[in-house]
Amino acid sequence: MNRKNVRLVFLREVRDQIRDRRTLFMIVVLPLILYPGLAIGMVQISFLFKEQPRTIVLLGTDNLPADPPLLSGNHFASQWFAVPDDADKLHVIHDGTRNPPEVSPQEKADSEANAGLLEEGRDLAGKSQQLEELEKKQDAARKDHNEADEQRLADEIRSLKEELAERFSASKIQVLIVAPQGLKQEVERINHALAARGKDARPDAGEADRVRLLVVQNSADEKSSFAYQRVRLVLTAWEQRILQERLSEAKLPATLAKPVDPELLDVAIARQVSASLWSKLFPTLLIIMAVTGAFYPAVDVAAGEKERGTMETLLISPARRSEIVLGKFFTVVTFSVSTVLLNLLSMGITGKYLISLARNEALTRMGADSLSFPGPWEMMWLILLLLPLSAFYSAISLALATFARSTKEGQYYLTPLLLVTLGLTMFCLSPVVEIDPFYSILPVVGPALLLKEVLASPGSSAPLVYGIPVLATSIAYSLAGLWWAISMFNREDVLFREAERFDVRLWIRHLLRDKEATPSLLEGGLCFVLLILLQFVAFRFLQSGVVVSDGHIDPASTLRLLLIQQMVFVGSPALFMGIMLTTSVWRTFRLRLPNWRYLVVGCVLPLAVGPLSVALQNWLQGWFFPPLPKPVEELMNSLGEQTLPLWFVLLAMAIAPGICEELAFRGFILSGFARSARPAVAIGLSAIAFGAFHIIPQQVFNATLVGLILGLLAIRSESLIPSVLFHIIYNSIETVRVRAGDSIVQVPVLKWFVASEPSVTGYNTLALVVAGVVATLLIAWLIFGGQKAKTMAETAHEAASDEPMGRPRTPEPAISTRSMD
C-alpha cells in the first residue's frame, strides 16, 4: 500500500468534486440556502394560514341549562376556551329561539343555508336516536338469550350505522350535538334535590333513563375529529362549571369532585426541552444526510469515471486497485461528513434565529438560550459517531457506484439504500427503543441510538458503556463495506461491464444452457434469497398450524410442520436448483465419501461445540439478547416433555434440518460462493447466510458461528457427509440432554460433566474446559492440518499470485493457511 498514491487520488478527486458545480451545490449551497429559505416559506405560510371554522350543529338549544350559557351568538362562549380566540374557529348553528343571535346582514344571507343544515342535523339526530334504541333492544335480546332477535337487530344496526355514516359524511356538519327534551329540568331537579339533601327520595334517575347530551362525530374524518377535540374541551369546561354551581348551591365543598386533584409539575428545564428536540432530530437527519452526502460524489467518482472513459487509464497506472479505491473512498467520506456538518449547522442556526423571533410563549420557553447547540461533549460524540457512519455509507455507495455502468444506473441504487436507511432511522426514532448491548452492535442502529441517548440526556453514562462496542462495530462494518468496494474494483466483469439488454427470458435460458459443474456465485446468492422468501411464505403456514385454541402451541403439530417446512421449503428448492442449474449434482452437493478422519471429526466435534455454544448462549442471554419470543420458548420447553416420542423429536429437530439445511447451505450455496470467492470468504459468506436464515437473534448468532465450522468441514473434507453428521448430532445433544434430565447423573462417565446442581448451563466447568480443548484442537486440525501437502502447494500458488488481479481461478481450491489468517 503506497500512501502517496492514495493521497494523489484523494487530492485529485476532491479537486474534481469541488470544480463540479452540481456537487458544490448539493453540499454547500443547498444547505446554506435551503433552511433559511424553508424558514421564510414557513413564516409566509403562517401568515396565509387561517384555520377554517368548523360547523357544529346544535339541536335542542332551549333544552340546555341556561346558566352558565354555553353559547354566545353563533359561537361557543369564549370563556370555555383555553385561548379565547379559538371560539371563532367553531361555528355553531343552533335552533335557539330564546336568545336570538345578533344577526348581521351576512348571516341573514346564510340563514337559509343554516336552516338546511339544521334540517339535516335533525334528520341525523333522528337516526342516531333510532340507533341508540336499537342498541338497547339488542342488549335486552342478548340478556334474554334470544339469538334470532339479536342477529336481526345486529343486521339492522349495521345497516343503520352505514347509512348514518354516509349521511354524516355527506353533510357539511362536523359535529352534531343534540340536547334532549328535559335536560335542563333534569339538571335543575338534581341541583334542587341535592341542595335539599335527601328530601327527594330518588335524586338519580338511573343510568338507563338518564337524560344526556348526545354528541355525534366521525373519527375517520379528520375535520370532524379535529372539531370534536375542541368541542369536547368546551363541553368539559362547561360541565365543570355546572358541577361547581351545583356543589356551591348544595353547600358542598368545591373539591368534592376532585378528591385528590393531581397537580402537575413539569421539571423540564429549557436545556432538556431543547436536548430532547435535538435528540429526535439530529440522529435521523444526520444519517439521511450522510447517505445522500456520500451517494452523489460516489456515483461521480466511480460510475462517472467509467462513463467518461477515464477508468481504464487509471487502472493502467501503477497505483493498485486498493489505493485507487481508498483515495476515492476518502473523498466520498470527506463530502459525506461535510454535507452532514453543514446541514446541521445551517439548520441549527436558522432554527435558533427563527425561534428568537417568535413571540409565542410556548416557543420562547424553549427559545433563545435554551435551543442552544449540544455542548462540546455531545458535539464530540456526534462527530465521533458521524465518522464511521459516513465511512460505512461511503463504502457501500462506492461499491454500488462501481457496479453501475453509468451515472444514471448509479442513481437508481440510491432509492433502495435510502429506503432501508429510512426504515432503520424510523425504528430508532421510536421512544421505546433505547440502546442496549444487542442494538449497539447493529449497523446504523447502534450509532443512531447512542447519539439519541447522548443528545437526550447530556451527561448520561451511555457513551462510556456503549461507546466502544458501537464504534468498534461501526468501524468493522465500514471496513467490510470498503472491502466490498475494493472487491468490486477487482472484478473485471464489473469494471468492463458492457451495456447489454437485460431480458429475463434470455437470462433464464442462459442459466439453463450454460450450466457448469457447480453453481455460480450469483446462483448461490439467488438460492439464499429464494430460501429467505420461502421462509417468509412459510411463516403463515407455520403460524396457522401451531396455535391451539387457548393461545398455547401444540408441540406435536409444530414439529410436524417444522419437518414439512424443512423438506418443502429448504431441502427441495436447493436440490431443484442444483439439478436445474448445474451439470454435476454430485459435485454441487459434495455427495462423496470423505476420508474417514473427517467422519470422526464430524461426529466428535459437535459433542464439544454443543456444550460450549449452550454456555455462550446462556451467558449472552442475560444482558445481550432480547428475551426469546414466547412461542419459541414454549416449544423449547415442550420438547423436554416425555409425551412426544424421542425419534419423532429427533427427526424434526435434528435429522431433517441436518440434511435439508446442509444440502442448501453447505451444498448449493457454499459451492456457489466457493467458485468465485476465496474459500475463507466463501465459508464466511455461507455462514452469514446460514445465520440470516434463522430469524431469532439468538439463533442468528449461534447459526453464524456454527455455520463457520460446518463450512470449514465441508470445504476441507470435500464432502457433505461430515457436516450432515455434525449438524444432526449438534441439534440432538440439547434435545437429548433436556429430556434425559436428572437421569444423566446416573450414567457413570457423563455424571462428571454435568453440573450437580441445576445451574444455568447444565454443564460444569470441567465439561466446558474439556469441550473447549477438544473443539480448539479439532478446528485447528481442520484449518492447518489434514491435507498438509495440498496446503503447501496452495500456499506456494497463492504467494506467487499476490497481485489482486493476478489470481487465477481454480475451481475449488482447498483452504490454504494463508487465506485463513
Partner: protein, 252 residues
C-alpha cells in the same frame, strides 16, 4: 520486450454463453518496432491489449512485458507501459497540465523531474497554448494530444495503442500516427491495434491478422502479401477472413 504465448481469454456473457475472446495467441514484439494487430471489430484486439496492460487476467497462457509477467508482476508491468486507446477519456474538470502531472506523480515521478519532463513533452507536442484549458473545453485534437502526453510522460519502454485513431479526423489521425512513428525512432517497443489497413501499411514493421480471437497470419506486411500472392492488404485481409469463416463453418 513483449512476449505472448498461447494466450487465451474466455468471457461469460449471458446472451451468448461462454465467449472466446482470445484463443492460443502467440507473438513477440521487440524494441524499436511497431507491431500491428489488424482485425475487424470484436476480433479480440482490445482484449489482447487489455491483458497486456494487466487490467484483464488471461484464462490461460503466458504474457510478459519488459520481462515481467502480467499475472504475477502486474504492478511492475504497469509501471513500464504506456497505454492509449481511441476511447480513453480525459478528465473534464482538469487542465491539460494538471492531468499529465497527476499521472506523472502516479508513476512515481518527483519534482523537479516532473515539471522538466512535462515542459519537454508540452513543447514537443505543441501543447503549451492549451496547458490551462479544462478537459471539457478541449477539441478532439487537443484531447488526443493530452492522451499521448499522458501515455509517454513516464518514458515507458513499451507502448500499447488500442485503435488510437478511432473517431479522429484525418489531420489529427495523421498527427497521432506521426507521434507513434517518432516513438519508434526512440527505440520503444510498440504494439498497435487497428482495423484500418492503410495505417498498417504505413506504420507497422510486422503485422498479425486476428479474427475471432485467433491469429490467422503474422509477418512483415510484404511477407504477408508475397505469401498470399495478393496485391493489396485489403484483399489479403478479406481472403484470410473468409477462409477462416469457411473452416469454422466446416468444423462446426
Amino acid at each position: 520486450m513483449i512476449h505472448v504465448e498461447h494466450l487465451s481469454k474466455h468471457f461469460s456473457d449471458f446472451r451468448r454463453g461462454s465467449v472466446v475472446a482470445l484463443e492460443g495467441v502467440s507473438f513477440d514484439v521487440h524494441p524499436g518496432e511497431i507491431f500491428g494487430l489488424l482485425g475487424p471489430n470484436g476480433a479480440g484486439k482490445t482484449t489482447c491489449l487489455r491483458v497486456l496492460s494487466t487490467v484483464l487476467t488471461p484464462t490461460s497462457g503466458i504474457a510478459t512485458v519488459a520481462g515481467y509477467d502480467v499475472l504475477t508482476q502486474a504492478a511492475d508491468v504497469r509501471a513500464r507501459i504506456g497505454f492509449m486507446s481511441g476511447n480513453t477519456g480525459i478528465y473534464d474538470r482538469m487542465t491539460a497540465w494538471e492531468l499529465v502531472e497527476y499521472f506523472a506523480r502516479l508513476y512515481g515521478m518527483e519534482e523537479p523531474l516532473v515539471s522538466q519532463r512535462l515542459n519537454e513533452i508540452f513543447a514537443t507536442l505543441q501543447m503549451h497554448e492549451f496547458r490551462d484549458v479544462l478537459g471539457s473545453k478541449m477539441s478532439t485534437g487537443m484531447k488526443q494530444k493530452v492522451s499521448i502526453a499522458r501515455t509517454i510522460v513516464h518514458n515507458p519502454p513499451v507502448l500499447i495503442f488500442d485503435e488510437p485513431t478511432t473517431g479522429l479526423d484525418v489531420l489529427v489521425a495523421r498527427a497521432v500516427l506521426k507521434a507513434i512513428a517518432s516513438l519508434r525512432e526512440q527505440g520503444k517497443c510498440i504494439i498497435f491495434s487497428t482495423h484500418i489497413m492503410r495505417e498498417v501499411e504505413k506504420l507497422c514493421d510486422r503485422v498479425a491478422i486476428i479474427h475471432k480471437g485467433r491469429i490467422l497470419a503474422a509477418g512483415t506486411p510484404t511477407e504477408l502479401l508475397d505469401r498470399s500472392g495478393q496485391s493489396d492488404f485489403e484483399e489479403l485481409f478479406f481472403e484470410l477472413i473468409s477462409r477462416a469463416e469457411e473452416r469454422m463453418a466446416a468444423t462446426s
